[in-house]
Symmetry: C2
Subunit: 428 residues, 2 copies
């Protein structure tokens, strides 16, 4: 699978490149004066220029409506979720959004990252029920139609897996293999607070235990404060219904909290005084510390960023290259992304694409002219709390090397003299 | 095809509804106390409640990666583009986004509205070229790789067809048949200004004639001022590459301008002193005025809104119903959406979902408790210039009845005693 963005450096013998400068992006063939000059130079593709007519203009294209639900171009068939092919099973596994091929900040639903613990259930929404019980005045059962009658809200937020990547898997070759377990969407649903006001939360309620209707009955405990703050029960994602892989027909959305707490296929909210200490919050998703203890309940995904273009497995040309990437923080908004093009010696502030939204992917971009010298490029994000994304060495100094989850370290990319980009964690 | 949102009023005999109130949304079955009580009442779906296990929890679901590019649930198969089935041909035709089934403000790429004049070409991006010539210092040819090397920007904007709906087609039954030819996406590409600075625009240049690489060679003239303002050449849409139906691999984006000027499959920009007076700006897309003249070059799509839920072909229950819809304006931001629930006698300001972005779809919502009395509901948007969306009668008074395009009238929906919602333009 060769992705679109794995641009190869092309020979320039037949092409007239522009001089370097703020807008000299190179690569564009200059027509000298006329169609004749064009014919004399005959750059590749000139047969498709006016007044010539490319093949695809010579007959009508596909009918309107030939795809009632549209699909990507067949030329984009390499742009799919990124997944290891050597797993022993795929029931409890993951696939990453192909970050190096994505644009902007929205992750298309078809490419949203996946992490499932019991496969993807096929749920009939007409049969699905949500039960809310425990420390409540009126235990209630909601149909999807009930949920949809509540006043709705839409909010754009990222979701990120706690193991993105695990401490032990920082040697992968490309961005999507390293931190592809993060995605961003416009979510639509009902604030969880509204549903809790409907059932009436009793004094003493401190946690809500959410259970999914998958074969793993995935169960996580959520502090009541988060449930009454910005938590939502969502049924819409990027304009349409949730996809089965994202919890269709209903999931919990906990903006900024680790992915697996955003319970998919939600069937039960149990209001309790104590957490459930479920499998996914005890044996998994805890942080093994240097002193041998395990830190439980690390909910918030800290500030993080990665350069997605140029990034590992891509190849760049000398001259102008825009450095582009994504930053996010579970604590609010991204305040700043600094980029180094000299391996960390000096840093420049990248431009943040507006609007910068809270707990959403933020696109940053920095113009860069590469002179052909081998180097390393790194991004480092700062969030509105002032927290600065650490390097992997800084993170290890605090957390040791026993941990798996909550790795928000910076990602350095090495640029070789050939223009080939690779993971700088991998020593040659 | 029965869509998800065509909710039927259900008998309440076996269910305990809540009293009316700010949060009394009705429809939720209250569990009296225990599993036994639940069993005694046995509401539909109770077999799926804890401690019972629904069928889809009894075996692992689909493997991770079984859909490298994910698709909607099979239970959403009715949510597709809306299209008339009685056309003589579908080469030059349209399909609408199913607005009544959509959430939030982003239109998924698979449901983005279509309007093509020569079918959808299948273009190999490696073979595609963009030529920029005419009144420029250096005529140039760009590959897609060249275009992608320019500094990029992302912006969220709507695109709307000029005939949405034509003056003569205001009697359709549902929102997507009336104004489905509007959609909204996060677009990524290069500001057209950057490309024009690269080629050097000569004095005397007043227009840029854009030509598509479809079988219609669709051609439109764009004022140079727009080209140097917020126009873009876009290759990304909602995080991924443009879809073939939206101009893959390259289209012009003219925020706020009528849809067909946003030329798809862009192959040529001809910088000129005069407009081209092409077919699509003379025989079509002009406004026939009451005095028999035709108003040409009506570029900006004026302020507009529609209630999408409840809307035509849906059915509502008494009690709480959230009124929800979309508003947009080619002039900037939506300032206000007023909603009437009494056929236009009185109006209340709806809540606008933040962030309100310029030239983007804006979701509005208003809580409403329906007492069962037949009525009509209408939305009316005001944009930041102070312009107020007209009723169809007000629009006709200015524009007459010879016109086809640029109908931005309000859309009244009639609510019958049965709860059935229908187009109030259609007299019983």
């Amino acid at each position: 699978m060769k992705s679109r963005s794995s641009a190869e450096a092309k020979p320039s013998t037949r092409r007239q490149f522009l001089a370097a400068g703020s807008l000299a992006v190179g690569g564009a063939a200059a027509l000298v004066a006329s169609g004749e000059a064009l014919a004399a130079e005959s750059p590749p593709g000139s047969e498709n220029l006016p007044p010539n007519v490319p093949e695809w203009m010579k007959a009508p294209g596909a009918d309107v409506g030939s795809e009632p639900y549209g699909q990507p171009s067949k030329f984009e068939k390499g742009v799919v979720r990124n997944m290891r092919k050597d797993a022993k099973q795929y029931t409890s596994f993951w696939s990453g959004a192909p970050l190096e091929d994505l644009e902007g900040t929205i992750t298309p639903n078809g490419l949203f990252y996946e992490r499932h613990h019991g496969g993807i259930p096929e749920i009939d929404p007409a049969q699905h029920r949500l039960m809310v019980h425990g420390l409540v005045e009126t235990p209630m059962v909601f149909t999807m139609e009930d949920i949809r009658r509540f006043p709705a809200e839409s909010r754009t937020h990222f979701i990120e897996c706690a193991g993105n990547p695990p401490f032990t898997l920082i040697y992968a070759d490309k961005a999507s293999s390293l931190v592809g377990l993060v995605s961003c969407a416009e979510w639509v649903g009902v604030p969880l607070k509204t549903v809790l006001e409907q059932v009436g939360v009793k004094p003493g309620a401190k946690w809500i235990v959410a259970e999914g209707a998958d074969a793993a009955a995935l169960t996580r405990s959520i502090p009541i404060e988060k449930c009454l703050d910005d938590a939502m029960l969502v049924y819409g994602q990027n304009g349409e219904a949730l996809r089965p892989a994202q919890g269709y027909p209903l999931r919990v959305l906990l903006p900024g909290f680790e992915g697996n707490m955003n319970v998919k296929w939600l069937r039960r909210l149990h209001v309790t005084a104590e957490p459930a200490y479920s499998r996914e919050e005890t044996s998994k998703y805890t942080d093994s510390m240097p002193d041998g203890t395990a830190r439980k309940f690390t909910f918030v995904m800290e500030c993080k960023s990665i350069i997605t273009r140029p990034s590992g497995t891509q190849k760049i040309n000398q001259g102008f290259n825009e450095i582009s990437g994504l930053a996010w923080t579970g604590r609010g908004k991204i305040a700043k992304v600094d980029v180094s093009t000299d391996g960390g010696k000096s840093w420049k502030a990248a431009k943040l694409q507006e609007p910068v939204l809270t707990r959403a992917l933020t696109r940053f971009r920095l113009p860069w002219t590469w002179d052909g010298t081998p180097t390393a490029i790194i991004s480092r994000a700062t969030d509105e709390t002032g927290y600065v994304q650490p390097s992997f060495e800084e993170l290890k100094a605090v957390r040791g090397v026993n941990g798996v989850y909550h790795n928000n370290a910076t990602q350095p990319w090495k640029i070789a003299a050939s223009g080939e980009v690779s993971n700088a964690h991998v020593k040659a």
